[in-house]
Symmetry: C2
Subunit: 328 residues, 2 copies
């Protein structure tokens, strides 16, 4: 299926008056940033916009201008003509209450950068060459001459910065850096926005990091490193879901480590396993599938029965096998 053009999409914006903008559950910077960036452009066009996210606004993104407009749906149905999903690979990942809120919409627009997106909109623009949905929106807004206010500018920057690991990941392109240059030219305060994005961690995140490091185990050959978080620690530190985001990168970034694993005990005793590989030969998605999990070759996850110690033993044994196979 082909992408709808930017001009078809902007025509749909002009042809309607009320919009709900949604993104995926457990939203990250690209999700919230994309919602705010596009929503504010529509508001500047005189449209009515509802910003809905199933899980609401994470605390670490509450500095974004107009972030307080993001609301968590409670089961109501909104009176809107158009539903827009941004940065959401599948329709169910918008969440049940968000879908209900959007259920009166007559037209669905789907803008995303996930290659697996099945194009569930009436209008779709999926561009997997873009490292972030924020960058697609930047192209849409600038090419179609839609309003690019300071709110939209800052939201786009945060969307792209967070989804590229601050312009580091391999998906970062010439256009990404050119976009950043243009946003600074349009008045973006680089130092300030990055301090707000990266230098305002709650203290409990540091306490969490300390706890995780104290559970860190590395295999003798240094290939596999893992740490764990028990449910009672989450309660003691009063952690929020976003607090652990990105921390696994600290052990993934160790020289010699091929696979980094995070074991997290959920309420009720289920164990969530997050695996990151640095080597395509050590395909962690294949390991995840052994335990009915899934993901990508370099980043995969599992939900399995506890207790933690048993789950950990099983997963590490499967990873050991995989690493040894890769070494030949």
């Amino acid at each position: 299926m082909e992408n709808n053009s930017f001009s078809e999409i902007s025509q749909a914006f002009r042809d309607h008056n009320s919009f709900i903008i949604m993104s995926h559950v457990r939203p990250d910077g690209d999700a919230i940033g994309s919602q705010l960036a596009l929503g504010h452009a529509l508001e500047e066009m005189g449209k009515t916009v509802y910003y809905v996210n199933e899980d609401g606004l994470p605390e670490n993104l509450d500095f974004l201008p107009h972030a307080d407009r993001i609301v968590q749906p409670k089961g109501e149905v909104l009176d809107v003509e158009v539903a827009i999903a941004v940065d959401c690979a599948t329709k169910p990942r918008l969440g049940e209450n968000a879908l209900k809120a959007a259920s009166n919409a007559k037209l669905w627009i789907n803008i995303d950068h996930h290659i697996s997106n099945p194009r569930y909109g009436d209008l779709n623009h999926i561009d997997s060459t873009s490292p972030a949905t924020g960058q697609i929106l930047y192209n849409l807004i600038t090419k179609e001459d839609l309003p690019l206010s300071a709110v939209t500018r800052d939201a786009i920057y945060v969307a792209v910065s967070t989804d590229t690991g601050s312009f580091q990941y391999s998906g970062t392109t010439v256009e990404t850096y050119e976009m950043a240059a243009d946003l600074v030219r349009r008045g973006l305060d680089v130092g300030k926005i990055n301090a707000l994005t990266y230098d305002s961690n709650p203290y409990r995140r540091v306490e969490l990091l300390r706890h995780l490091l104290n559970t860190l185990v590395r295999t003798d050959d240094g290939e596999i490193a893992d740490w764990q978080l028990e449910y009672h620690v989450k309660e003691e530190l009063e952690l929020k879901p976003e607090d652990s985001e990105g921390l696994i990168d600290i052990i993934r970034a160790v020289k010699g480590v091929t696979v980094a694993v995070f074991f997290e005990e959920l309420k009720g005793g289920t164990v969530r396993v997050s695996m990151r590989s640095k080597d395509l030969k050590v395909n962690v998605c294949e390991v995840a599938k052994e335990f009915h999990g899934g993901g990508h070759a370099l980043a995969a996850g599992i939900r399995m029965e506890g207790p933690m110690s048993e789950a950990r033993e099983k997963v590490l044994a499967a990873l050991r096998k995989k690493v040894d196979q890769a070494k030949g």
Copy 2:
């Protein structure tokens, strides 16, 4: 004093045949990256180049192409016509042995972005609007049409990326992002170079972070956070000087923390104190001066007598006063 123009400097390159390129002691990414970037451009022009750094090549930068050309001087005098200092705010910071190695040079060229640089060269180009010396060299090389090989390209990127905290600090400009775009256009592998720069930490750095976090203390009001490193721990973990680089940012980045302090015991019991402030009203340079240290308003340091516990008590008391004053 005025800057010498890029054309004057490139003329000096063309007029001579042998060069020593140096940078500051305890070199960082901008120091080593700048040495390699400019040096390889000169080599591509057919020149003889010696790359000298008083402290040699830090392990975390050994992935840079041609990094093995960086040598630590042992007291020899090199037979060169021109000495070039890059990214070095004062001449003594080049180090005694490096200065000796360069002592036969008839012409000194000084290229830097530190505003305090006293222009100790015969030719000087000091541009404090540039967030990294690497960015000045990019401008010099592209404007004067000097060779920009893959070696120079990658070295410039690492110099600028590391000195801007991956394009985050307030000094990052439109030109910085445009430069990054151009380097990618010239074939830079963004994912690979950043993985090598940021994702190849020695395991001992994680062990160090664990140790530091276990000594972390935050004042009741959350304004001051400090951690410490005793000399015997450095020996046990076999730490290198560069291992602690940047770790203080983890506590500086905590919401509510105004000042982050790192107490480090040196061989013989002297204590090195590093302070980072997030508020210009809490001028840590003024606190440093009380103990005969120095630096900038937001980043300052002290070397003082031990033992650690006493040094810590005195410095924290002075900081407490400063923070309370700032609060009015």
